[in-house]
């Protein structure tokens, strides 16, 4: 197997990024306008990168499938953004944020990258504040912080429950300024359908205009993919409906390695599924676990009873029972798995969907008694309103019902320290890459990573790449460009001409159920083998029985969806394969064969302290698994214990 070079610097941790930046080649300001950069996706990473690169003087073409750059799914992040500012004087530091992130990722991420992330976190808060992000403040006018996701320091900055929205609008506004200045040309409602690679270098993309259906090629000197995660492979997830894997999947099929696809985060507190028609799941901030108590009835017979009638002695506060020191605040992966266990045990609550009750109570009765209803309204009022709007139940009177849902994907395209993929000139930022969160992401770290990549990493590392290549010199009549265009058109025609009877949504649901059951919160050899057998058959059925109407030269939302589902049907298989070969339990990846007698995860550092990076090897052939060994020089891997 060939080794992957991370190009991570060596030497003292705290000076690595500075050293690296000093070693970077610069592009003369007068030459920057000769270079054209494509940025796909306008979430935190994409908008921040496009704005910052435009500001430096490069010519930027930015793309998003939404009707406006402001609607990228970063907008939905609720909780906050971490930064090692230590404004609270409570012992935080860059090293502590680094340490917490490495440990939280269960020792499956690169020390150099994570340290840089922690270092840059402080600049992000400065940048965002200067842009006018109305973060929460204290009465003295200083920025407020809260502790988040079980962290022992208060390092999370927030803007009510809409931190992602505010940070994204900040980046969108910076992007708008560059659009006005003529540095960035924005293409909304335009979806990337393939990557153009010429002589080993990423040189452009092929897009479909979602209004006119026009297929066209865009050429550039470098391409940035900031297209988010692939959590919608599970069909039901907290992602927006449009979130998809197409951009990174097409890049994978053009030679970019896909790293750790099985590392997917399941968030423990989401509103459970109400019926078969369910189209997405809604996350409720995990801050609710600070005061809410999680329980299910001790006996399955009690599951249909009104919760208030179930006496204390007949309740099982299972997290408090099993983890006396962390209780309801255990990390996301553990809280999720234990909820699954009790529901598998037949003790789930709420409506029965597809023959099973999948929900646990999150009860504020005791908190309301202890603190008074006003205090609860103050802390969680907007979340309680949101819950009531969706379920029609009043959580001040009836305990909330929660169940885990797919939320974030740590896996993504493999990138080196410069955020460059295995294809020269193809850079990947934000959730779309695999880089910083290892096997599990800590709360309030996604916003941090997206913005660090976009504002503070890519403007340097992309310049370093461009300084080594000459600008331009490619036209759309190049045979390679024409070939990709023809492939994209051929694929759309094929989708439209199947003439079957099943909608793309039905196929997506079926794939989602399969992935959720066999490659979700808990995985085993048998189930994964079953999924690996079933997915190709489902894919075959998709290509034989898909139903679409209309043409490709108009606004055709079912066609858009069909293309995305086709890619999910391929990605799902790679995820299962990755989960199957990673014979250990780490972070969010839980293999039932690798657990203690008490059901806790068992990591195998001897054999799996590495990143698994998959190389596409043609349709029908097994992909090749490469590894990047992870060295821990500054933090010694330990077993996570929350007992």
């Amino acid at each position: 197997m060939k080794p992957l070079h991370s190009h991570a610097p060596s030497g003292p941790l705290e000076s690595r990024w500075e050293q690296h930046r000093f070693g970077i080649k610069l592009v003369n300001p007068a030459n920057r306008r000769k270079y054209e950069i494509i940025v796909v996706g306008t979430g935190l990473a994409g908008a921040a990168a496009a704005a910052s690169l435009g500001e430096l003087g490069y010519r930027v073409q930015a793309f998003c499938f939404q009707d406006s750059a402001r609607r990228a799914h970063s907008i939905a992040a609720q909780g906050g953004i971490n930064a090692a500012k230590n404004y609270q004087n409570d012992g935080d530091s860059v090293f502590r944020l680094f340490y917490d992130t490495i440990k939280g990722g269960d020792f499956r991420s690169r020390e150099s990258n994570v340290y840089r992330l922690a270092e840059l976190s402080v600049n992000i808060i400065d940048q965002a504040t200067a842009q006018g992000i109305p973060f929460a403040r204290e009465y003295g006018g200083q920025l407020a912080n809260r502790s988040f996701g079980g962290a022992q320091v208060s390092r999370t900055f927030y803007a009510r429950g809409q931190t992602g929205q505010q940070l994204l609008l900040g980046a969108y506004q910076a992007l708008s300024r560059q659009i006005e200045a003529g540095q960035v040309k924005m293409h909304p409602r335009t979806e990337m359908l393939d990557l153009i690679v010429v002589a080993g270098r990423a040189r452009g993309i092929v897009t479909r205009d979602l209004i006119s259906g026009e297929i066209r090629a865009w050429l550039a000197d470098a391409v940035v993919l900031a297209t988010g995660g692939y959590g919608n492979v599970f069909y039901l997830s907290t992602n927006a409906k449009g979130c998809n894997t197409t951009a990174i999947w097409r890049a994978y099929k053009r030679g970019a390695f896909f790293a750790n696809p099985c590392f997917t985060q399941i968030h423990p507190t989401c509103i459970p599924v109400a019926g078969d028609y369910q189209s997405k799941l809604t996350l409720m901030s995990e801050s609710l676990r600070n005061d809410g108590r999680v329980w299910v009835p001790l006996r399955a017979e009690d599951c249909e009873r009104t919760p208030s009638e179930i006496p204390e002695s007949a309740r099982d506060y299972y997290l408090e029972r099993r983890y006396p020191s962390f209780g309801n605040l255990v990390p996301r992966d553990i809280a999720s798995r234990r909820a699954k266990d009790v529901c598998d045990d037949g003790r789930g609550v709420g409506p029965s969907v597809g023959g099973a009750r999948r929900g646990v109570y999150l009860d504020f009765r005791d908190a309301i008694e202890r603190l008074g209803k006003d205090a609860i309204v103050q802390r969680y009022g907007n979340l309680f309103d949101m819950y009531e709007r969706i379920t029609g139940e009043n959580p001040y009177q009836v305990p909330m019902r929660m169940y885990p849902a797919s939320h974030y994907t740590m896996g993504g395209l493999w990138v080196d320290y410069n955020l460059m993929s295995t294809i020269e000139g193809l850079f990947v930022a934000g959730e779309a890459n695999f880089s910083d969160h290892g096997a599990n992401r800590l709360g309030a770290s996604a916003l941090m990573q997206g913005l660090a990549d976009g504002y503070f990493v890519l403007p340097y590392t992309l310049g370093n790449y461009l300084a080594r290549v000459s600008a331009g010199e490619l036209t759309t009549d190049h045979p390679e460009v024409r070939a990709v265009l023809a492939e994209v058109r051929g694929r759309l025609d094929r989708l439209l001409s199947i003439g079957g009877s099943t909608s793309p949504d039905s196929f997506h649901r079926e794939l989602g159920r399969l992935m959720w059951d066999q490659c979700g919160m808990s995985r085993n050899q048998q189930g994964l083998a079953r999924a690996l057998d079933a997915i190709p058959r489902l894919r075959e059925r998709f290509w034989q029985d898909l139903k679409l109407v209309g043409s490709g030269s108009e606004l055709n939302q079912a066609l858009e969806l069909a293309g995305r589902v086709a890619d999910f049907l391929e990605l799902g298989e790679l995820m299962c394969r990755d989960a199957q070969t990673r014979e250990e339990s780490c972070g969010c990846h839980f293999r039932e064969e690798h657990a203690t007698a008490e059901g806790e995860a068992e990591r195998d550092d001897e054999h799996f302290t590495h990143v698994a990076a998959w190389e596409y090897n043609g349709d029908g052939a097994a992909p090749l698994r490469h590894t990047e060994e992870l060295a821990f020089e500054f933090v010694k891997p330990s077993t996570r214990s929350y007992k």
Binding site: D67, R70, Q131, F135, R177, Y277, R389, A558
Partner: protein, 263 residues
Amino acid sequence: MSDRLLKLTLQVWRQKGPNEPGHFERYTCDTVSEHMSFLEMLDVVNEGLLVQGKDPIAFDHDCREGICGACGMVINGVAHGPRAATTTCQLHMRHFKDGDQIVIEPWRASAFPVWKDLVVDRSAFDRIIQAGGYVSVRTGSAPDANETAVPKTDAELALDAASCIGCGACVAACPNASASLFTAAKVAHLGLLPQGQAERQQRVLQMVAQMDAEGFGHCTNHNECEAVCPKQISVRFIARMNRDFLRALLTADEPSRLRRKPA
């Protein structure tokens, strides 16, 4: 949790393209669960249309949790439907009765041309922001975030304004199809903070000029916008924008920077 099933008749605006005539089409659906969201109800209708070989109803949507601002339709004459402070995606069918007839239309405003069915072009909003809805700060040039204290009440009020999701309901509800609430929300958000002061005058002049150039009407205090705003953004911000605008008109040092772009 009960599960009531509703039988509904929908009258949906269908329009093939911007220059095509539109019309209402009638659909009946008799298996609508009260726990469905409004968009899930439309998903079910669309699934049925697709398998019958008919063109599904096009509508914008994405996050389906009320924050991205993509969705929006006029439901029985009200932008985002009957529930206050609720986007279309967060409206649930339990607020309708068995046997109801529901009329569904796109946002109607000349500055928001219809692309197809319920999908409209809201790019005018982006151009209003591009005209000045930002603080000009270079990446990397920011001072320490705690260097400038911002009174808590100012930050909170700025966030009230900044909560705008850019859905366009305000325009759809306004008899003048005015974008005043949208524009004012951004003018107020940045104008309330110390970081936004340097460009305050220029910002309001340019954004208002762009709003006019896009063909949005003027505010004549109907307050319909506030009534339908899913984020309950107050019309007081419009008064604030008008004050800023007047002050800037009278005192701006660089009136030459005030320019209009055609829509």
